[in-house]
């Protein structure tokens, strides 16, 4: 090192372009969203599309503001059912994923049944849920759970099942019990898979609860949109859609923040360059 410092080296140039790129990367998502709305508005105006076919963003925002209290009230209902269903999916998906991933016997035994179960369209189950639990929050929670449970399970199971055999040998040669291997290696290793699946599962959970609300509820964004479109209040229905997107993005961000906090080691960037031996 000392020898290198005494050499006559040109001064280190700050990386200007990289800085500009970073700012652009932060700004770009917002620009894209604004651009979508602008193009949408222009298209609607240019072709004079009727409001009950495709409302312009300006009309949607206006409707959203006008109906802000019912929208917020119903959004809260949807958010709650989604989060509760999602919470169950996380707990059961994690437990079932551990069970299935850590034993080939359980894997072989249960996986076909699970795949079959997952192939059933969840919309088709809602009427049955209504027979069992009546119209309201419960079917929505269960639908959100059913639809988001599987991706979590599959990912956790994959993470645990793909532990390197050498690593298993290292631990087993120390006398580690099965659960110790899972606890020390399997679980931490499957965490990146788990969080990746959360990001998928949370958006699925919204789909589940909203579909259920459309079919079998008297509250929630799904119900609000159904009522709005039956009254030809199309801007209001679109405002509901917009609200769903916002909630979806918010929950996605929560999940990815959690991911970055807990499994930063798996998404390490090139900024943390390795020192030389």
């Amino acid at each position: 090192m000392a020898a290198a410092e005494t050499l006559d080296l040109p001064p280190v140039r700050p990386h200007r372009r990289a800085l500009g790129r970073k700012a652009l990367r932060r700004l770009l998502p917002w620009l894209v969203i604004v651009a979508i709305f602008v193009v949408w508005e222009l298209v609607v105006r240019a072709f004079a599309i009727e409001q009950f076919i495709l409302p312009a963003p300006s009309a949607i925002f206006a409707a959203g503001w006008e109906w802000r209290w019912p929208i917020l009230d119903n959004s809260w209902q949807t958010l709650m059912t989604t989060v509760v269903g999602f919470g169950f999916a996380v707990v059961f998906g994690l437990l079932a994923g551990i069970a299935i991933g850590s034993s080939t016997l359980v894997y072989d035994g249960f996986y076909p049944a699970l795949v079959g179960f997952n192939s059933i369209p969840k919309v088709a189950v809602i009427p049955i849920l209504v027979i069992w639990f009546g119209i309201g929050t419960v079917p929505a929670i269960i639908t959100a759970f059913l639809i988001s449970f599987f991706p979590i399970l599959v990912n956790v199971a994959a993470g645990i099942a793909t532990v390197e055999p050498e690593l298993k040998d290292v631990l087993r040669a120390l006398g580690a019990k099965r659960w110790q291997v899972i606890q020390k290696v399997g679980l931490p290793r499957s965490m990146p898979y788990f969080f990746a699946s959360l990001k998928v599962a949370i958006t699925f959970a919204f789909v589940g609860s909203i579909v259920a609300e459309t079919v079998a509820a008297n509250k929630g964004i799904g119900n609000l949109m159904l009522v709005a479109s039956s009254r030809f209040e199309v801007p209001l229905a679109f405002a509901g859609l917009l609200m769903t997107s916002i909630m979806g993005i918010a929950m996605y961000l929560v999940c990815s923040l959690l991911e970055r906090r807990t499994t930063g080691w798996a998404t390490r960037g090139i900024e943390t360059a390795a020192p030389r031996a």
Binding site: E164, E166, L167, D169, V170, L171, R172, A173, L174, G175, A176, Q180, K184, V185, P188, R189, M191, T263, W265, A266, R268, T272, A274, P275, R276, A277
Partner: protein, 263 residues
């Protein structure tokens, strides 16, 4: 006294006995505190031998006795290192090295109370292989050679009486490899565990081991052995001296013969 005693051991992979026959009538004795290297043509069952000795795979025939007891399941006293360092990327180097302490008794019950003492021990061990100052780094911040050093430390932290090394230096460049030979020799001289080193590098085997065993092509068994009596601690220059070059040549011929008989 023999620490490891394999008597006519065979191993066939597969559940119904129609898999590959990897070992056939392997007899192997390693004294307590001895450093033995096993060399052989590729695919001769060297890694299988490791699995049988440690009890990770049960032998199909013959007896395996380690430390005076017949091996029926995975042993709990073994330190292992592989060609791949297999460090856990979510743990710092220090925590990686301390992993065995969380599993092996009696350390696992003492760890919480005597954490400071154990951390000091781990740091000392890391210092011994030249990783001082990298304790809080994550494995992916280390070079390949540094990771392999940490992996060696992990294999040794719980003072195992048996150290199994499966081509631990195979993926490293020559200079790093030679450096680690010295590090390994120092560690061995300081603690004197029984070591079985599987390698395909004859210079490495001759430099490190007290005795070099040559395995035949698959199904593997020991076809030749050669004691290496060079005084310890050995210096790297030793590998270029005529005596050790002669041993390397001799082993080479055994291996060529083993390969020829397979072909």
């Amino acid at each position: 006294m023999n620490f490891v005693d394999l008597d006519r051991v065979s191993l066939r992979y597969g559940e119904d006995g129609d898999g590959t026959l990897a070992l056939h009538g392997t007899t192997l004795r390693v004294a307590t505190g001895e450093f033995v290297a096993v060399v052989g043509p590729s695919g001769c069952g060297k890694s299988t031998l490791m699995k049988v000795v440690t009890g990770l795979w049960p032998a199909s025939a013959g007896t395996v006795i380690v430390s005076g007891r017949e091996v029926t399941g995975p042993l709990s006293i073994v330190g292992m290192a592989f060609q791949n360092p297999t460090l856990l990327p979510w743990r710092t180097t220090l925590d990686n090295v301390m992993l065995p302490l969380e599993i092996v008794s009696p350390h696992c019950t003492r760890l919480r109370k005597e954490r400071v003492a154990y951390v000091t021990k781990a740091r000392d061990l890391l210092g011994l292989v030249g990783l001082k100052g990298f304790e809080e780094h994550f494995p992916w911040q280390l070079s390949g050679g540094m990771q392999q050093r940490a992996s060696l430390c992990r294999a040794l932290i719980h003072d195992p009486s048996l150290l199994m090394l499966d081509e631990p230096f195979a993926a490293l460049d020559m200079f790093t490899r030679e450096e680690l030979w010295l590090a390994l020799q120092d560690l061995w001289l300081a603690r004197r565990p029984t070591v079985i080193l599987v390698t395909h590098d004859l210079r490495e085997a001759v430099f490190l081991a007290d005795r070099v065993l040559v395995m035949s092509a698959r199904p593997g068994r020991i076809v030749a052995e050669r004691a290496v009596t060079l005084p310890r601690p050995r210096k790297l220059d030793v590998t270029y001296e005529p005596t050790s070059i002669a041993v390397v040549h001799e082993l080479r011929e055994h291996i060529s013969a083993a390969r020829a008989s397979a072909a």
